[in-house]
Point group: C2
Chain length 477, copies 2
């Protein structure tokens, strides 16, 4: 950990890669475009999974598992879907030493094979709604990859729900978007804008796509979760029908929704600093690290005794780790745990033992300002409270940052400046040509049309025609 | 659920498939040899995962994730390994619309790609031991498949550990076998025999393979978890070296160990009966189902009130589900929850409400014998206790069954009879020819050479030559 990360101001992209590797989150794989999620990164992903999975189950979802391989003919059943995904497919042509009669795609997403099964499982309105999620790996062949943000293989969850009515399906797509938003805000401390995707950015084969968009430390947007209302497109392609209460055969209405390991990248870029990772307490694999400090052997004994007591006092409440390695100095340990983003450090030295106190050091407030002595009595309560404060402060800081870099440009020239250093929240006439011109001229895309916006009318930032909605524009990962 | 499963005595194999499908554990996929794990089966797998994962973490392991794709050249680096696995590979030849320069195997197991990374990560003795596990999907092309027991794609965990010394690695392989045994006995209520595999049955590329073997309801053996001491075979193939304390470069010693969704099949076959699934309480997604019984609307109100109170009293202690569906009769519900293996049913009718009691019905003791009235006061304690009893009784019953069908045949003729209806525990000279002749003559294989056996000598059951170890022989899945 002697080496330092590239400062963000110098090269944001290198800073990101440095942090991901030096904080031991991930490594490059010997397979093009793939990554290895290392233990620290995977523990973070496990906490992300737990936070989402708990919420999925609370909304009535069960987990299941569908095959990795999808017959090519399935993908071809929905015209838009295959058009969108076929350039990205990995294809298995041989199995068990023989050439396959029909090549198999490695799943890029599972609407098709799940649709095929739903057609078999759903018979009557009593089988609806069908609410199923799957945690799995997917593969999309990528040319330019970045750890966590864009990799050929990634981990995710994909929810696939079927309903008797369009209204229920639409409400579900929005409900799951809301679950994502709640997770991002409450657990990941990431402020997100929930909105609708434009037609050009929506899911291949869907009717309406919703997204949560977050601003990264370099002002770029990261799509952090999507939820799609698929109408009856997949129901018709896969013949998913049910007998309704009047005994009439109807097509179901479906949705799908997903969050991936990309969320790890969002956590890095929203909260990290030039010392490395900064983790929100709710997601941190280790919330509190205890570092003992001593010089003499006598001190060592007394300090380690205190450390044992403190750890025992905290263990039931927080995820605590004691770093009592003899071969590293306290300063070296401070750096390492800062790099790895542990939210709170407890230092215990001989003077602390004498005074019956410990020193708390906040990861999110570097230097002296973030340090405070806390008496041993009532320590567990103080630590819990401090973690709550850190969680809230991280969110507040990220929100302030996004708000400071979200602009309401007065004209197209100002718009160009705005999207080079943040988001532009601007009127858009809804025309795909304007959207394309903006993208070509400024590299900014419509991140979303926010669900919450004041009703009214304005003039399209590009063409000046009347517009009834405002969109968030930004450059994106 | 009107239809019944095929009785075990009529056709065990059909009984198994019926139960797996009718208890909603799994379904056949539209891709050859693959399965879909349905919500009930996946919830069972989630509990298996949780029971194992907790134990892995307690032994110092962290989870990580390595790529799905393995370059063919990696597999070829260990001669025995590629020989063993290449007939079973699924191969990706095209990605992103282009033919790949080097075909990629879909991982059948990950020793090779993990070995490649360990060579990069391990530099010094301070990096050892390296203890990593991964939960993932793997693919082995299979000709004859059976739901959970043998499928082209399956889910599993694979642990991969590296050590400075042979002794540590060997101790680790046995430690993880012990973890598997503890899980099987304590959580799955499955008695297992822990032992060593013969040379002909060991892992391709390993030095010593250990296994836990369980007896299914048809007396056949199911290999339920394996742990391999790999010596320095993979270390040499992938150049995994470390600087020891004397600053000398040494190869590491490695192990690998795995348990798969096959364990679900073991639970079905060890505990199930002609009414369907019987789940051990520790693994059951629903431990207690409450079924209200009423005739009049007045009764309905009083009964449902009692049901709500009972559910509230149990919720914190056990995984409880209330089946208050109006459209099904109590009898229909009894059958359904019996099919799905819920360990304990609570029936609440008008007379129970009057008497301030409920009726408990044990899944593992069918009919009247398994029913007992329990007063509402102290119900939670009684339910917890009953679940503990059921867990213990299931294990005891399975152990009695295995012991009743494990024989000590006096000669080879008796041996042939023994392995047609159980295990034979017999002396074996250690010669591979004897092993092959036994397999050809009786279809029985050496399931394992038990770790725990009385020292001594005897005569090989096949050739009569002196033998110093006894082996468990049986027909296997």
């Amino acid at each position: 950990m002697a080496t330092k990360v590239t400062p963000r101001s110098e090269d944001y992209s290198r800073w990101y890669t440095d942090v991901v590797q030096m904080a031991d989150l991930a490594d490059y794989a010997p397979v093009k475009g793939c990554m290895i999620i290392k233990p620290h990164g995977y523990a973070l992903w496990e906490n992300i999974k737990a936070g989402l999975d708990r919420r999925f189950k609370a909304t009535g979802h069960a987990n299941a598992y569908f095959p990795l391989f999808i017959p090519m003919s399935f993908l071809e059943k929905e015209a838009e879907h295959v058009k969108g995904f076929s350039p990205e497919l990995a294809v298995v042509t041989h199995g068990g030493g023989k050439k396959l009669e029909e090549p198999l795609a490695v799943r890029p997403t599972s609407e098709t094979i799940i649709g095929h099964m739903y057609a078999k499982w759903i018979q009557s309105y009593r089988d609806l709604p069908l609410l199923i999620n799957q945690w799995c790996n997917v593969v999309r062949w990528e040319m330019r990859t970045r750890l966590f943000l864009r990799t050929t293989e990634f981990l995710w969850q994909e929810g696939h729900d079927a309903f008797a009515t369009s209204e229920e399906a639409q409400a579900n797509a929005l409900q799951m978007l809301d679950v994502y938003k709640e997770f991002a805000v409450e657990d990941a401390a990431i402020p997100v804008i929930a909105g609708r995707k434009s037609e050009s950015e929506k899911f291949a084969g869907g009717v309406t796509s919703y997204t949560i968009e977050a601003m990264m430390g370099d002002y770029k947007a990261l799509q952090s979760g999507t939820s799609h209302f698929l109408g009856q497109n997949f129901a018709k392609a896969f013949d998913i029908k049910f007998l309704d209460e009047n005994n009439e055969l109807q097509y179901v209405w479906t949705t799908s929704w997903g969050v991936s390991t990309r969320m790890v990248g969002a956590v890095v870029m929203v909260h990290g600093d030039d010392q490395g990772l900064v983790l929100p307490p709710k997601l941190a694999p280790i919330q509190v690290v205890i570092v003992p400090i001593w010089k003499s052997d006598n001190q060592r004994t007394a300090v380690l005794e205190a450390v044992t007591r403190v750890e025992a006092a905290l263990r039931d409440d927080v995820r605590v780790h004691v770093d009592d390695r003899d071969e590293y100095s306290p300063g070296w340990k401070f750096n390492e745990w800062e790099m790895r983003g542990v939210p709170l450090r407890i230092e215990i030295g001989p003077r602390d033992v004498e005074r019956e106190q410990v020193m708390l050091a906040r990861r999110d407030v570097p230097g002296r300002e973030g340090k405070s002595p806390v008496p041993l009595s009532g320590l567990a309560g103080a630590v819990r409270e401090m973690l709550t404060t850190i969680q809230a402060d991280l969110y507040r800081r990220a929100l302030d940052f996004r708000e400071a870099h979200t602009y309401n440009p007065g004209d197209y020239a100002e718009f160009g400046e705005a999207v080079s250093e943040g988001f532009a929240y601007s009127w858009w006439c809804g025309d795909a040509d304007c959207e394309a011109q903006i993208k070509e001229g400024t590299k900014a895309t419509i991140r979303c049309i926010p669900l919450e916006q004041e009703p009214g009318k304005g003039k399209c930032i590009r063409c000046g025609k009347e517009a009834s909605e405002r969109a968030i524009f930004g450059r994106a990962y």
